[in-house]
């Protein structure tokens, strides 16, 4: 089971800023191990963020995204106490979903 994400969402004025920190190796598939064998690619492919079950961010990622990725974005309309849900799925079909409230 992958490690949990860190999600922070705060509303200032009419904008809500969401910051998400994910724990993932994000292996590019370009690196080689000590024996010279290629380390297979392993990365987050799809990310989606919903606000009260409405999708506010949907992204397709590749191997260019760094290890332990951090994503930050803003959307309009969020209010204190609303639910933010973040889900990622990687190329091994491993999945992680975490929730947070807007503060």
């Amino acid at each position: 089971m992958p490690d949990p994400m860190k999600i922070r969402a705060t509303t200032v004025g009419d904008e809500t800023e969401v910051k998400v920190l994910m724990s993932h190796e994000m292996e590019t598939g370009q690196r080689k191990d000590g024996q010279g064998k290629t380390i297979p690619a392993w990365f987050i492919q799809n990310v989606s963020v919903t606000w009260n079950s409405k999708t506010v961010l949907s992204a397709q990622w590749g191997t260019a995204v760094a290890k332990n990725p951090f994503v930050s974005f803003r959307f309009k309309g969020g209010a204190k106490g609303d639910k933010i849900t973040v889900t990622w799925v990687d190329n091994r079909a491993e999945k992680r979903t975490d929730e947070s409230m807007i503060a």
């Binding site: 490690d3 290890k67 951090f70 930050s72």
Partner: protein
């Protein structure tokens, strides 16, 4: 033939420089000095900007969260959590403990740093044997280190508090003096010592500024920003790792995890950082 041609060129070059007036020479020299200094400060500025950009969303938080979980989980043969672990302020008190470490612990009759104390608690409370508790002191990719996660959690609770390392017990004084000695000891195949890099102002390794750890300011700045998430390694690194890697870079024998030498150096630097506000886990290149 080529060699000769070069010589001739060199010769003519020397002749040309002789013709130059003295003032022109000084001018040329001073230009170089300013240009070089400019290049250097802008590189340092760029690194500072890079660090600032990384500040938001420091992955060290992932280690802190995992560490907190490990702290509270019932683990080991005895199935108990580390919540009864005494880090110096009494059993279970985590907040502020790191600002007073390393310190003398009567139960172990030894000066201990955080890492050593965590191993002690894993052995005495949770019933692990020592080699098991120490088996992965530093993380490496998917082989994660529980110690480093616990270090991240414990140190994070001391953020914003002043360093306050006492030298009360005779063993603490002895350790501090040993640390000072090791710090200035030169040896190994390169005749290297900590002082080779860390006892002068304005030294660099590649583009990284090296702190002068013999000054209060230098020790404070360095000590309060470890542990740190190393972007280039994708790992959170503890202070024991920092010293371990310094020893490796000096081509010294391996610095053993939890050894007196490691604790002595930590105590020496922690004590010199007294009064500074602890600001870690930080993030570094």
């Amino acid at each position: 033939m080529i060699l000769r041609a070069e010589r001739r060129e060199l010769g003519s070059c020397r002749a040309a420089s002789l013709i130059l007036t003295q003032s022109a020479c000084v001018l040329a020299l001073s230009f170089c000095v300013t240009a070089c200094a400019l290049a250097q400060t802008s590189a340092v500025d760029e690194i500072a900007k890079y660090r600032a950009a990384l500040q938001d969303g420091n992955p060290a938080e992932l280690w802190e969260a995992r560490g907190e979980d490990l702290w509270k989980q019932k683990r080991g043969p005895k199935q108990v959590s580390l919540e009864g672990c005494d880090l110096g302020l009494g059993p279970g008190i985590v907040k502020g403990a790191y600002t007073r470490l390393p310190m003398y612990f009567a139960d172990a009759d030894r000066v201990m740093d955080l890492e050593t104390r965590l191993v002690w608690c894993m052995v005495t409370l949770q019933g692990y044997n020592e080699s098991e508790a120490k088996k992965q002191p530093f993380g490496n990719g998917e082989r994660k280190s529980d110690i480093e996660a616990l270090v991240a959690f414990v140190t994070s609770t001391s953020r914003g508090m002043p360093m306050n390392v006492a030298l009360k017990h005779p063993k603490e004084v002895e350790m501090y003096q040993a640390g000072e000695k090791i710090f200035s000891y030169r040896g190994g195949p390169h005749d290297f010592g900590c002082v080779t890099c860390h006892a002068d102002e304005g030294k660099r390794i590649r583009l990284q500024d090296l702190p002068n750890l013999t000054t209060r300011e230098g020790a404070q700045k360095a000590y309060t920003t470890w542990p740190a998430y190393r972007v280039s390694q994708g790992e959170l690194r503890s202070f024991e790792w920092r010293l371990y890697d310094c020893f490796r870079q000096q081509r010294f024998p391996e610095l053993l995890f939890g050894s007196d030498a490691s604790i002595a150096l930590t105590l020496y630097l922690a004590r010199n950082a007294n009064g500074a506000i602890f600001d870690a886990p930080a993030i570094k290149r």
